[in-house]
């Protein structure tokens, strides 16, 4: 098992109880999708796994090691092994695509060299290869904010590939993209999962995408896991439980 989450709680300072005892495990090579309404705790859960947010109680075990309370250098070493892709891409807008991709390697580069932006031939080669993997090798020299939404998200995926991650977290990676672009971006996650064998945990909204890409599904509601299983078993009744009585399923292809 690559990741194990045990009885995880998160209470924010304003009193919101975002996670209420979440427990699950992820096997190597899985494509796990987490679904649920906005505010159900999906984003909090992902950020607790790579410690962008400190969980209030519970345990996160990554590669057999308890990482819930590690700090400093040790925490940074763990973070280098977990890639993350965000809904808003979170690129450095004014810098070139290639620089953005290289930032994925910062964790294993020296502070002084990275301040001078002196990178080795190998780093550049890896960055170009990562861009090839997501199909935008020719955009390397362009400014990040001149790219379209879908292209920016592919740069963000390339950035996470620079980490050679064991685990890739994706927080609603296609929620700000149009349907056609959504599918193409999801295909890159599938490719990374199948070809590189990287374990993927992905938050998604659309059930049609879930059915197409997920190998397993977890549904969160108000901070608790209410469903765990394979995507095909989510029928109409489960859908209503997860998304509420008034919800109607929409297709996205």
């Amino acid at each position: 098992m690559i990741l194990e989450v045990q009885n995880l709680h998160k209470i924010y300072k304003n009193g919101i109880h975002a996670l209420k005892g979440v427990s699950f495990g992820v096997n190597e090579g899985e494509f796990l999708v987490i679904i649920g309404l906005s505010g159900s705790g999906k984003s909090t859960l992902l950020r607790c796994i790579n410690r962008l947010i400190e969980p209030t109680s519970g345990k996160v075990i990554f590669l057999g090691k308890d990482i819930t309370h590690i700090k400093g250098e040790e925490l940074r070493k763990v973070k280098t092994q977990i890639g993350m892709v965000f809904q808003q891409f979170n690129l450095i807008r004014r810098r070139s695509v290639i620089t953005n991709v290289i930032t994925g390697r910062l964790g294993s580069l020296g502070t002084f060299d990275s301040l001078l932006e002196k990178f080795s031939e190998e780093v550049y080669n890896d960055a170009n290869k990562a861009l090839e993997t997501v199909g935008i090798g020719e955009k390397a020299k362009e400014r990040a904010d001149s790219l379209s939404g879908g292209q920016q998200q592919r740069v963000a995926i390339a950035r996470s590939l620079m980490q050679n991650p064991k685990l890739l977290l994706a927080d609603e990676p296609v929620a700000s993209l149009d349907p056609a672009t959504s599918n193409s971006v999801m295909q890159y996650f599938e490719k990374i999962n199948k070809e590189l064998g990287t374990t993927v945990i992905c938050n998604l909204h659309f059930l049609s995408l879930v059915r197409r890409y997920a190998s397993r599904v977890i549904a969160l509601k108000a901070g608790e896991i209410i469903y765990e299983g394979i995507p095909d078993e989510i029928d109409k009744n489960w859908f209503k439980t997860i998304y509420g009585e008034e919800a109607e399923e929409v297709e996205i292809r």
């Binding site: 962008l52 004014r94 301040l115």
Partner: protein, 358 residues
């Protein structure tokens, strides 16, 4: 799934407790503010309106005993009033009862407060249309305006050197301020310093020091430094430098606080260290605002440098003060025109540059 009962009740309890505490604090604040309002009203009516305006006394009588009695009276009235929860301050802090009495007291007392302040202000500033438009006054105005519009060109070369000195004072103060301001701004940005207790303490202390330095006008700094390093352009430059660092550090750090958090989150998720995060996720976002603030500050500093000259900070201001002391209004006229021209040009140039870089 196992539920933890203590954790479950936790948040609600905290929220309820916070609300209670807030209401209590607000009532205390309301009492204090009401005491102040009553005290202020009595003092303003008694001293400004009664003594000065109605009795037209030159020397105001002053005794601590009297002030003390007024203060005690205000404490009694203010406290009682606030505790009925119908006072102005209760309304301001949101702890007032919602009834007719509250509305009436708020309206009447608000009206009284405004008028007392306005009348007292009128009396204190000795506002007098008679002085402005008396025959004597008009004659003086004619004399000075006549001189100002007939500038004495004989001192043009001296004035030119003086104004160039002023521009250099401003430029050097701005340039030297950049490195210390940059460093300080990172240490006074809340979002970079809140992570642990030590860095937060540094943040807090630096903020207090900078606020203090900034609250002292460059004019006062010039007086201090003219005693310290001697009268002249050097004193003026240091005075401007100190104030520029303090005010720009505030502007810079606010720019840092307003950056998008997304890139910071993304870079820190890759396992980058703190310095790398700042260099890659923060610095690119603040370059333009920093440049813009600095250019604008140069423009401000040119204006300030002329004023600082008045207290011995060198440059055109010092020259202006000398001729004003000799009542040579034609020379003063030339200097004023030159200052106006340079300030206008600087203003225009800095606006153009700032437009161009955005």
């Amino acid at each position: 799934m196992k539920q933890n009962p203590i954790l479950d009740s936790h948040p609600q309890r905290i929220i309820a407790k916070n609300k209670e505490r807030e209401a209590k604090y607000n009532l205390v604040k309301a009492i204090l503010l009401d005491i102040f309002f009553v005290f202020y009203t009595i003092i303003a009516v008694q001293r400004a309106i009664y003594y000065k305006f109605i009795l037209d006394l030159r020397e105001l009588p002053f005794s601590w005993g009297e002030i003390g009695i007024i203060f005690i009276i205000s404490v009694i009235i203010g406290t009682t009033w606030a505790l009925t929860k119908t006072s102005l301050s209760c309304k301001l802090f949101g702890v007032a009862k919602d009834n007719k009495v509250t509305r009436w007291t708020v309206e009447i007392f608000g009206w009284v407060l405004f008028n007392v302040t306005f009348i007292a202000g009128w009396v204190v500033t000795k506002l007098s249309l008679v002085d402005l438009f008396s025959a004597e006054g008009i004659e003086g105005a004619q004399r000075i305006f006549g001189a100002l519009f007939q500038p004495e060109m004989g001192i043009f070369d001296d004035a030119l050197f003086a104004i160039i000195e002023t521009i250099y004072i401003a430029l050097l103060a701005t340039l030297i301020s950049i490195p210390p301001t940059l460093i300080l701004s990172f240490f006074t940005a809340r979002n970079l310093m809140r992570d642990n207790k030590i860095s937060f303490a540094v943040y807090y202390i630096l903020r207090i020091v900078l606020n203090f330095v900034r609250s002292i006008e460059p004019l006062i700094w010039a007086i201090i430094f003219s005693v310290w390093v001697g009268i002249g352009p050097y004193a003026g430059m240091i005075a401007l430098l100190v104030h520029t660092i303090a005010s720009n550090a505030k502007l810079y750090s606010e720019a840092i606080e307003n950056i998008e958090e997304g890139p910071v989150e993304a870079i820190s998720a890759t396992g980058a260290n703190k310095i790398q995060i700042v260099w890659y996720a923060v610095v690119p976002q603040i370059m333009l605002p920093f440049l813009s603030f600095t250019i604008y500050r140069w423009d401000i500093n040119v204006r300030m440098a002329t004023v600082i000259g008045l207290v011995g900070g060198g440059g055109i201001g010092t020259m202006l003060m000398q001729y004003q002391g000799l009542a040579r209004w034609h020379e003063v006229g030339l200097i004023v025109l030159m200052i106006a021209f340079v300030v206008w040009v600087m203003d225009y140039i800095s606006a153009k540059i700032r437009e161009a870089i955005y």
